[in-house]
Symmetry: none
Subunit: 119 residues, 2 copies
DNA sequence: AAGCTATATGCCTGTCAAGACATGTACTGT
DNA sequence: ACAGTACATGTCTTGACAGGCATATAGCTT
């Protein structure tokens, strides 16, 4: 069984969750918003469903997917002990986020790693 | 460049971070604690380093790795809008269902029985 | 100098997952 | 019944990556 991290590592799936955070949506709407194929979208939704991150409601041919945020608490719990660590270092944190924004490879000093799947 | 999610999806790397949260450690110590090969450990450390999640200090042949929690703020920021949702989710769900009740078409049939075909 | 220790890197291979396409399934309206 | 809509699933290919071993690199000790 996939962990919540395994599910969230795929950018399209994080985007789906972001979209469902606003309101439930049928698959077709997600297909349009994501720019993915319908089968591809359905597969991502299946992974999300099996991880308990979304629930489906049937409505004739349509399936309305809605967010179920509970499994995210697992990630939140892992993150928790770290949160106080950067709380004392807000300066360093801001600098880090700015570096990320402007020069995406600021930390990548040796070999460049290609992002999976986005080219 | 790998996102922080890409880095964290690997359990061994999350474990490394957990170990470095206590104190900086040389590679050999991590090898023992993780039960991985030394090259495998070094590779994970490289990924963590390139993502800015750890920093290295040289000490003769040893390299002391220490935690740099700042990039985790990226994950925390993504998680932020969800955090309130799983706390007050029952309220949100109730409100949502009430909205749906007043909608004249469609959603009433959502509770239809599933065919016993797929368990 | 040689030899030892600690770590990094190269190369190879198996595995696993995402994407594309075709097809199956379920429901609707005429 | 038929055609169309909305979605799921199966199959295949391809690429990324973890893990293994061998080897390179760097510093220490004698």
């Amino acid at each position: 069984m996939a962990t919540t991290f395994d599910v969230l590592v795929e950018p399209a799936r994080r985007r789906i969750l972001d979209l469902l955070r606003e309101r439930p949506r049928p698959v077709g709407e997600l297909v349009g918003l994501l720019g993915l194929s319908q089968p591809g979208t359905s597969k991502h939704l299946r992974v999300l469903r099996e991880a308990g991150l979304v629930a489906v409601r049937r409505d004739a041919q349509r399936r309305w997917y809605e967010l179920r945020p509970e499994p995210l608490a697992e990630v939140d719990a892992w993150l928790e002990p770290y949160r106080r660590l950067w709380a004392g270092r807000l300066d360093a944190l801001e600098q880090h986020l700015n570096e990320r924004k402007e020069t995406p490879h600021a930390h990548d000093r040796s070999r460049r790693r290609r992002r999976p799947r986005n080219s």
